[in-house]
């Protein structure tokens, strides 16, 4: 051993001095409570804001039941996003605080604002509020951009087939605009099913883009109930139509993106599998989880959706009544119990709740981690009560003002 080796102990001396200097000069680097995580924490909150206040600066009817809301920042910049991602929008409807995830329909190339496109559901609770009640100038609260439904150059091929149904076109609009502009090697075929020709969302924008990029974007509309004079594809998207439209090119070089109603997604997935398309070449939006669970695989036939049960939440001192046919998250919100929510379809994991007592139904397509299943955790957004229950949900994120942790990677 050499004595001089001991000097390595002090090898960091310049850093020490520098750090003390930084500490003296700018304690805010680590000392400000809003600076949790130091400088990098501020960057993290910028890229992944837990909650963000935005202004509704424009609204535009796309069809008679679908509206595009344009959001602009109020006190902090809008989060960066990848086209195809969504934000969760928080609203208060009839005194109930709830939220709905909506795909971003604008391209990230357009800075300083984002568009969300929402369709009014006939008996919907939140969508009529967003289409008909909120007004330009109103303030809304949203999450940062989330979700994995986006093009990834290291994973996907550049020959894309986009299959949309109804309002499922929303994530594709930004994706198409962005890829046309930012990635010249991509070719896209959009197969877009609508109930009738008046209900085609973004019809003019799509037509214009296809005309501007005839060699890179082809748009095929499929109209379920065509009026006289419609010359395009009709009916529902079926296997023969798909095969004809996609052509005989090398299927292995194509990547498919699907977004639409649950039944359509399941059907198209089956058709693609029959055509020999590898599962990993098929990307689907996370809205592919059913919301009508009665009669779904595994649903106990003796349980009526209107059956009522009691839920106890000891750590909030709350007891509420819930219905078998409604997901627990919505029931809890009706009872005034807020839990962290982002995706509301069982993927983000932010509503992870301890099921201390009781029986529950979870649709088969919802995945729960093995360790969580064994430890009795559920996602309230995709869990339906089958008996009285005792739950321990996490607290709602907006009350954790300094929180960084709510969301997915």
């Amino acid at each position: 051993m050499k004595l001089r080796d001991y000097w390595t102990l002090f090898a960091d001396a310049p850093t020490v001095a520098r750090t003390i200097g930084t500490w003296r000069a700018a304690p805010a680097l680590v000392g400000d409570s809003r600076a949790l995580g130091g400088q990098l924490g501020a960057v993290a909150r910028h890229i992944h804001p837990t909650r963000l206040r935005v202004r509704l600066s424009g609204r535009r009817w796309e069809t008679d039941d679908t509206v595009t809301l344009t959001l602009t920042p109020i006190d902090c910049p809008l989060p960066a996003f990848l086209p195809g991602q969504y934000v969760n929008v928080f609203v208060s409807v009839g005194g109930v605080h709830t939220s709905r995830p909506l795909s971003i329909s604008s391209s990230p190339s357009r800075r300083g604002m984002i568009d969300l496109t929402v369709k009014r559901k006939p008996l919907g609770f939140v969508s009529p509020h967003l289409t008909d009640v909120v007004e330009v100038g109103d303030t809304l609260t949203i999450t940062g951009a989330e979700g994995d439904f986006h093009f990834h150059p290291a994973r996907d091929t550049d020959d894309l087939v986009l299959i949309a149904g109804g309002v499922g076109i929303t994530p594709f609009m930004g994706m198409i605009e962005h890829l046309l502009e930012a990635r010249p090697q991509t070719h896209m075929l959009l197969i877009y099913g609508s109930s009738d020709a008046d209900r085609i969302i973004f019809a003019q924008r799509l037509a214009r883009l296809a005309a501007e990029h005839p060699d890179r974007l082809a748009v095929v509309h499929v109209i379920e109930r065509p009026r006289l004079g419609w010359l395009g594809e009709t009916g529902l998207i079926d296997a023969r139509m798909l095969q004809r439209l996609i052509g005989s090119g090398d299927l292995g070089r194509k990547t498919f993106f699907l977004c639409g109603p649950h039944a359509m997604m399941v059907a198209v997935q089956g058709m693609l599998a029959d055509m020999g398309v590898a599962r990993r070449r098929v990307r689907q939006d996370c809205s592919a989880v059913r919301t009508d669970v009665v009669g779904a695989p595994g649903w106990p036939p003796e349980v009526d959706p209107l059956d009522r049960f009691t839920v106890r939440i000891p750590n909030r001192g709350v007891v509420l009544e819930v219905m078998a046919g409604e997901n627990l998250m919505s029931s809890l919100e009706r009872g005034g119990v807020l839990t962290p929510a982002i995706c509301r379809v069982g993927t983000c994991g932010s509503c992870l709740t301890r099921l201390i007592e009781g029986q529950a139904y979870v649709p088969p397509e919802v995945a729960v981690r093995r360790a969580d299943r064994e430890a009795g955790y559920i996602h309230t957004c995709t869990t339906y009560p089958l008996s009285d229950m005792v739950l321990r949900p996490p607290f709602e994120a907006s009350r954790r003002s300094r929180s960084l942790a709510a969301g997915t990677i």
Partner: protein, 512 residues
């Protein structure tokens, strides 16, 4: 207002293990966790149909029924081993570099034989190096947590004294001349996040020899199963865990801790608070600098956080055998020069050196049949990522991921064509979920000045305040973090007179 014997702020591994020890010793505990899941980095995430481990790949200190490591002893004491099973890797690692493809087996003799077979001209140096590593480990274990005087250390434990003050490079470069042999023997520097010129020789010696002696383990059910097992132990013993529930203030009056105020305005009264959060946040945000002595703040301000990580999580649509994945831990090195692998100011360039972990090799049930999961991890410097603008963040992540996937595909050509799910994380991701400064993954950097002997002490500067986790003694990583919580709990039990000093020392034997 509620009364507890101890409130634990943070349900990372250090917080969970201290809470488990305190609860099973009869104390009333409440654990507060800001995130909705317990575990800190010891957690998983799901992308249909794959479940990825956020951080764990190689667990040290488990061993086999005939030869148990320290971690196993601690987990068994807490009752965690009744809940989790472990798989052991067949061998230690594979190291790939220009002009090198070396497989390191487990076991001291086997490792030395493999090194000498590959580099016969370095026989003498490699033998001495291995002897040094093990002697340092044995000397440290022999002290049983006691701090010897300087004279005693120099006379009785010269190699340990040297290792306490020196970086790995001093031993590695002194004993071994061939850069390929240096790389083969110093490869797991990245388990500590610092290249040999800056990495504590003591920490490398203890870590490396622990892996060689007790093998590389991985829990069934992933690291989340480990975290959940701690939760079960705590709750069975009557302890409470509150998730999505952050501490706002650690309350101090007259130089002593009095409890915790939560973000939900709940006042928890307790004479003991364990901070399992990074100590800078604990000191400045939770306790407040006015309640802390100047020398403690100075102590914190001279320490540097460790590296963060850039990770590419790959879900692959093929069985591992079809992808040619036979080794669990594979190190990709773009150069033989260990210190070139992580420059101190690397800029935002795609990492040349990284680790590939092929989980299905150690755990055949890791992913659904016909699929595999591979994670690529590179050390990443958090302060560099702080310069990234949000607009270029996604592009940068993609560029890094493509570079690493291309490099990995040189060895495993089928990899590229089977990517089903691809998720990347950066130091920004780490900070987002843990609040750790610079997205640090090992607490304070594993430099000689932050080795276990000098690292932040578990007893805080205010009566009743304790620290646990990677930032505290003995150090970062799974085994040290869990041990840290256990040692902190023993210190609390001793300070409160629940157990005698001798018992605490016996129980913490060898943990330094």
């Amino acid at each position: 207002m509620k009364d507890f014997d101890a409130v634990i702020v943070g349900a990372g591994l250090g917080g969970l293990s201290s809470a488990a020890k305190l609860a099973t010793s009869g104390l009333r505990v409440r654990v507060l966790e800001r995130h909705i899941r317990p575990g800190g980095y010891a957690t998983s995430f799901y992308r249909d149909p794959y479940e990825f481990d956020v951080s764990l790949h190689a667990l040290s200190g488990i061993g086999t029924p005939g030869l148990r490591g320290l971690l196993w002893t601690v987990l068994a004491d807490l009752g965690v081993t009744d809940e989790v099973e472990f798989n052991l890797a067949g061998h230690f690692y594979r190291s790939v570099a220009p002009g090198l493809d070396f497989r390191m087996p487990s076991g001291r003799e086997a490792a030395l034989t493999a090194l000498v077979d590959a580099f016969p001209e370095e026989r003498r140096g490699l033998t001495r190096l291995m002897h040094r590593f093990f002697q340092v480990r044995d000397d440290a274990a022999g002290l049983q947590g006691r701090r010897p005087s300087v004279v005693e250390s120099l006379i009785k434990h010269p190699l340990l004294s040297h290792a306490v003050a020196s970086p790995l490079a001093v031993a590695l470069y002194h004993e071994v001349k061939d850069p390929r042999a240096r790389l083969a023997a110093g490869q797991i520097w990245s388990y500590f996040g610092l290249p040999p010129s800056r990495l504590s020789l003591l920490m490398y010696s203890v870590g490396f020899t622990n892996y060689l002696t007790f093998g590389t383990a991985y829990p069934r059910g992933k690291s989340q199963a480990l975290s959940n097992a701690f939760v079960n132990v705590i709750e069975r013993a009557g302890g409470e865990i509150s998730l999505g529930d952050a501490a706002r203030r650690i309350l101090v009056r007259d130089g002593a801790v009095t409890g915790v105020l939560t973000e939900h305005e709940e006042h928890l009264r307790a004479p003991v608070v364990v901070a399992n959060v990074n100590p800078v946040t604990a000191a400045l945000d939770l306790i407040g600098p006015d309640n802390l002595p100047e020398r403690f703040l100075r102590r914190l301000s001279i320490a540097r956080p460790s590296v963060g990580s850039f990770c590419v999580y790959l879900g692959l649509s093929a069985d591992r055998t079809d992808l040619g994945l036979e080794d669990y831990e594979v190190f990709f090195n773009h150069t033989l020069d260990l210190d070139e692998q992580l420059p101190s100011r690397p800029g935002l360039e795609p990492p040349g050196s990284f680790l590939l972990s092929a989980y299905n090799v150690i755990d055949p049930e890791f992913s659904p049949p016909g699929t595999s999961v591979v994670t690529l991890v590179a050390p990443a410097v958090g302060s560099e990522w702080a310069r990234v603008s949000p607009a270029e963040y996604h592009q940068l992540k993609t560029r890094f991921a493509e570079h690493m996937i291309n490099r990995a595909s040189e060895l495993y050509p089928a990899l590229r064509d089977h990517i089903d799910v691809l998720v990347t994380s950066t130091p920004i991701t780490n900070t987002r979920y843990t609040g750790n400064i610079d997205g640090a993954i090992y607490g304070f950097a594993c430099t000689p000045s932050e080795n276990p002997a000098f690292r932040l002490e578990r007893r805080g500067p205010v009566a009743g305040l304790y620290f646990a986790g990677a930032w505290t003694q003995p150090g970062g990583g799974y085994e040290p973090s869990i041990n840290s919580g256990h040692l902190t709990a023993l210190a609390i039990l001793e300070d409160r007179g629940v157990i005698g000093k001798g018992q605490a020392e016996r129980e913490s034997r060898g943990a330094a």
